[in-house]
Symmetry: D2
């Protein structure tokens, strides 16, 4: 059928000419952005480690894990209260109860909290408890959510979609910035490829490429980027060496009992070992 | 670093054991679902063609195109009022004004309307005008939107995410069905691969694979699946031959002037030529 | 490290300007090539089906299967004597003994034979027995093999590499043609993507795209393109509908006992059912 | 068509059970292999840098570049005499003349030479000049070449195919080892994904994953892994941090005039800057 000339129109290369990045580009804004969270600068000389469980599960779990994160040298506590799960029958998070537990963990440890917002309608609630909002991979092109997050005035971790190009991640950041919120931290967390031995393929190429094109800080999530806890320290070291401004790492006080992502969560002991090992790598590239 | 035994935990294959598909699976529900839209059955012997512009742009455009769709044998009118666009500076759709124009086109032509809902907060509005809700590729794992659409009692076209596996598409359908809405039409629209000469790689393998595992009807979008209008008729024929229950096709009365997706939109004349050619293919596989 | 200006050179878009296709392009040679194999034209109005086992295993197997191919309407017998296998410990083919069995099957059935050549040093031997040489996916960019095949004067099936772009497939054909051998049949056999429920993703977009750019005939292998025998008939129909000039299909007289690719091989009965069903599809697109 | 029960056979998950890795696996051979090239150990505490031009072009180019490699601290000289090129009209290498120039560069600088062998028939010639044979990405599953290289008794750099899984790379190494040649250095050089801003996606996950499963040394090629010279230092640092035993880097004395890969080749000055920066990273992970 394709041979019938009736259907043949002259072939033109489809060139997608997208509007430029007015706000997110380094050219437009040559000074690098430092996002400050409760006094902690992300994007400066210090590599900032955000760590904690995939999901908040109960008081004992989040409090114990938060203490371990603090003890190991983590600066920000991560933990999901609203969880995007592939199956509707999987654990969906504790919702507001989870947010309250995060706030309790912050109160005790002093660690600011990053947690995901999945829906614009939860934004008021989540932003009352969170210090940093997280927009997850599955929502990187949820444009109405990006716009609402752009109307907030609080830091945002924007995770790369699992099949998003680097340019699309920057365009997503532009959506948020257009609303006036310029405190964005970009996060590489692995892309989907043909390789099956790892959960995703961590694309560390993206770190220098993003930094060439934008002034925004860039962090790396080696937990989702590999899917295996035993690989996390090696890829965390690589992320720092390649120029990342921070890490987002899953830690759980009892990974074997985790309701989600246990296989990729570090134990408190291994988190501490990793943090000690990373100091030398950071120093080697002029960071701390 | 990866060589240090300190970091090495016993490696276990990450086996994701997801809850089964209670509602979407063919095993659970061995009778095939037929979704009826204003008297038009999708999933029965007739191949149903949904066609129209990417976005509603103005009255002349949508009315002229709707007439062409009807004249060519299209049964359902597609057109976007809310448009997910990669850049915030691209045309974002006419919103409610666009919905009104779609309703006007339906009134004149009698064609029911399928249009995208991007945000749960637009659901009341969009469902007042639409006959079928569309959940787009970028929202296939916007789980709160899926849940809200599940609370509606109207047909839904659920498009495969650009890097979603077939299993993930079925799990997304399960989210909608869990809310009680069983009128779901799955749509293959191409996946993201390394090939650059086409916009996406249309995965026609997915049609028989989906039909092996689910009772829901499956349609194919060769416009997004190729990105080139001249390729659409050939891939539309292939989609029917492989067993699709319908097509979703972009048609524009003046593709060169389209505000989006012009390169992949058929002219009214080429749409009519295609529709005539498809009749024989449908007959060859026992469809009409 | 990437931030240090010392390492920064002005970034230029890497534009690969490759020499044009002097011989393979449709522009250079506007008349479509028909490759004639023992009187059978490939690239004309008739859709030519090449079928047979993955590997020649023994006399009973190849003779029985060849008879079934002939009975079902297949025009050319496929069968591997030299087998590229991922593990060195898997069955590697019967080599010259396999070629002799293919010749015996040709003698009895009259079907010409297509078989793979994996190494330039086997070319003399293989070309004494084969009617069509096959260059497999793993060798699509084995350029010295392509050059040697270009020095032959016999038809060649050139299979797309599992991660080769359409342009790279055409450049590989150009290598063969540069040596003077213009009897090339291109073969789409699926590409490697993230989808895991099928062995490969059959890229039917490639058929019209190839035909837009080259005068060479194009066939499709739905066996490797899906990895499941039960999917082959549906994708074979789609391949014909999209404009393929032929099919390459795996058939085995006892798939459960096959030494390779049993899961994707049709039984003789299912091959015959498929061939009957395909007649109507071919007719629907003006082919036989 | 796929709905017809006639074609439906019971669906079984296609489980490919491949023969185990008898020789390449760490379990079979728990001591890590160190490949010694002219006294230089690859796989020991020292990170070994192999550097040089993509292709040998002329005496001035290879001699000047070799001196720069030596001056910068490179231990092994790379350079192609036989070049696999996508188009038959691109520069294909100087062949034996190129090998002679490599030998001349070795004589002056003392650097051993790694160079690609594309064809089993060139093996005698290439192995007379080379210290390490390279099997390129496009030949990773050229099984007859792997077997012949397995009959040699000299070190081999085996590069991962651009869409090869980690398991397939290990199976390819097993082919070489089965012939008796155990001196294999595996090389990660980037895989093909949907991302277009970089030439390939460097998969640093593969380094710890390979080291978990094999005793063979693993090096990384950040030049092909990124496609941009300005990115090479950052990814080289990451490769060392993640645990690579060495690097394969393109350096050219005048990248703007290179006949191939100029965009991804470092200048001598930038190579030296990079080498100095890498020392600290190596020290940070307990290497030199």
């Amino acid at each position: 059928m394709s041979q019938k000339p009736d259907f043949m129109e002259p072939c033109e290369l489809e060139i997608v000419i997208r509007p430029p990045l007015k706000l997110a580009s380094l050219q437009a804004h040559p000074e690098r952005t430092i996002v400050v969270v409760n006094g902690i600068p992300v994007g400066g000389p210090e590599v900032v480690v955000m760590a904690g469980p995939c999901a908040v599960e109960n008081e004992d779990q989040i409090m114990s894990t938060a203490r371990a994160v603090k003890a190991g040298g983590g600066k920000i506590l991560r933990g999901g209260a609203y969880k995007p799960r592939t199956s509707p029958y999987s654990f969906q998070g504790l919702k507001e109860e989870g947010l309250k537990l995060l706030a309790q963990a912050r109160e005790e440890t002093g660690l600011p909290v990053v947690t995901e917002v999945m829906d614009a309608r939860h934004l008021d609630l989540v932003s009352r408890y969170a210090d940093i909002l997280q927009v997850g991979s599955r929502n990187m092109q949820n444009f109405t959510l990006l716009e609402e997050v752009g109307n907030c005035r609080m830091p945002v971790v924007l995770k790369r979609g699992m099949s998003a190009t680097i340019e699309e991640l920057l365009q997503a950041a532009e959506y948020v910035m257009k609303g006036g919120n310029h405190q964005i931290i970009l996060c590489e967390r692995g892309i989907r490829t043909f390789e099956t031995s790892t959960r995703n393929t961590l694309d560390l190429n993206s770190v220098p490429m993003l930094k060439k094109h934008t002034h925004l800080p860039v962090i790396v999530d080696p937990s989702h980027g590999t899917g295996h806890a035993w690989m996390v320290p090696a890829l965390a070291a690589a992320a720092i060496a390649v120029g990342a401004d921070g890490l987002l790492v899953e830690v759980h006080y009892k990974p074997q009992e985790a309701l989600s992502d246990g296989v990729q969560s570090l134990t408190p002991d291994n988190f501490e070992l990793m943090m000690n090992a990373l100091k030398a790598v950071a120093a080697a590239v002029g960071r701390r």
